[in-house]
Amino acid sequence: MAAGLMRLPVFRKQETVSESNEKHLVVPGDVITSDTGFMRGHGTYMDEEKLTASVAGEVERVNKLICVRPLKTRFYGEVGDVVVGRITEVQQKRWKVETNSRLDSVLLLSSVNLPGGELRRRCAEDELAMRDYLQEGDLINAEVQSVFSDGALSLHTRSLKYGKLGQGVLVQVSPSLVKRQKTHFHNLPCGASIILGNNGYIWLYPTPGQQDEEAGGFHTSMEPVSLPDREVISRLRNCILALATHKVMLYDTSVLYCYESSRPHEIKDLLKPEVMEEVVMITRQRLVEQAG
């Protein structure tokens, strides 16, 4: 077999920027207002009584509060967000979890469901056996329970929805591309399931069968995944990458539409820029049609 096809650089398309864009865009150092009646929000600072932007992005006004939302940033957690993260450290009574946030998040031993049901008491042995439940490098999904004063997040997995993740594929995108929705867990009709973490970590896995209540989310199936399932997951992964490169918001409908419009192409071809562009264009059209 010949090695990968050599590709020449292509000229970037100049995006046609319409002047009728009524968004208020600012760059660091731009004075937003010199009126002192406003409140200073994220992405701004006071410079000699003038409210000044400190990041490049879009100005958001809520009554008297002025914020600047950067286009791309690390994950700002809020209570109730669903996150996917990786254990980086096992400490006393807590795990440290990397969640694309600016400080590592904390998962306390007291905020996980241990095997044996919800009402189990925690004892010293549990503390010693923490590494048996979750060890460094394990992927988990969890919910944000609270935010500490320094911005670090405290997570919990006290529901059967959450826990350790088994076999699947992780895709990392910018957190701002994940649309906030009522639910971030979807069993897609194409035969795979998806967890859209608010932190931009997306987990693709084969749709599970019946779940065992006693396992408390620590049991992971190690049975081989069938080839069709793996193909569906790979296709979904490439679709998400295509949507992310073209900055389309990710939610169940957009992922599904992209999956369907990618059907005529081979899975590996979806990584080619021109195929990506075509698939994303069709997806965009369908989304617009659906919106009415």
């Binding site: 865009l25 150092g29 992405g43 490049a56 286009l71 440290k96 400080l103 320094d150």
Partner: protein
């Protein structure tokens, strides 16, 4: 004068520029997807690539973490093929570590580090092709990368070099002008407020000329600031059009 004639009788420099003229600047933001922020800049033949990771948990020894602000970690390196003579050590030599330190000082002055206690911000800069003004290219590229990463800054940091040749201040020196042994000043400026983030000068200069040289460098930094501003606004427009629902 024995060596090269850096300024012709007509007042033109080696590459045909006027003393106060900058080289052509081309820049692009968001060149990598895996990094939090990245940028590429070309200033004439000097090309630099900057990548920003963070703010994230302090890696390595935890004792480095500061309880009231973020740590800025800079690493400057030059590609082995960046100079006429092939470099043996791309980073870690004395010159590079000094440059890393200067970059760190510059960005500590501009980034609002107090917003991120106990975190770390990594700035990695690489010179791909070196033709004078390495420090300024690095600072300008890193500024764009920091903005791309969405890290709050007081203002842009723009840097430019300036030298003094035959009683004239010349700005944005190329390699030939820089290696002549004359005075070279590197200046990093926050253009809106006019605060100086860093000044560095090699060789001696008469005190009477200092003001003129500083003024020339600052004017050059301001015009560079306008170019960077244009790049950022263009990038902002393009991305926000795409993400619009």
């Amino acid at each position: 004068m024995a060596g090269l004639e850096l300024l012709s009788d007509q007042g033109y420099r080696l590459d045909g520029r006027k003393p106060s003229e900058l080289r052509k600047v081309q820049a692009r933001m968001g060149v990598f997807t895996q990094a939090d922020g990245s940028a590429y800049i070309e200033q004439g033949n000097t090309k630099a690539l900057a990548v920003v990771y963070g703010p994230h948990e302090v890696r390595g020894s935890r004792s480095k973490a500061l309880h009231d602000r973020a740590v800025i970690n800079c690493q400057y390196s030059m590609a082995t093929f960046s100079t006429a003579e092939r470099k043996r050590r791309p980073h870690g030599d004395r010159k590079s570590s000094e440059m890393s330190l200067h970059l760190k000082q510059t960005f500590e002055a501009a980034v609002l580090t107090s917003l991120y206690p106990r975190s770390q911000i990594d700035i990695f800069v690489k010179i791909l092709q070196s033709d004078g003004g390495n420090y300024s290219a690095c600072v300008n590229a890193a500024t764009l990368a920091v903005i791309d990463a969405g890290i709050p800054m007081r203002d842009y940091v723009c840097a430019c070099s300036a030298g003094f040749v035959e009683n004239t201040a010349v700005v944005d020196l190329c390699h030939a002008e820089e290696s002549g042994g004359g005075t070279v000043m590197s200046l990093a400026l926050l253009p809106r407020g006019g605060q100086v983030a860093l000044v560095q000068m090699d060789a001696r200069l008469h005190q009477d000329h200092l003001d003129a040289l500083m003024e020339a460098a600052m004017t050059a930094c301001r015009s560079l600031g306008q170019v960077l501003d244009g790049v950022v606004r263009q990038h902002l427009q393009e991305v926000s059009v795409l993400t619009a629902e």
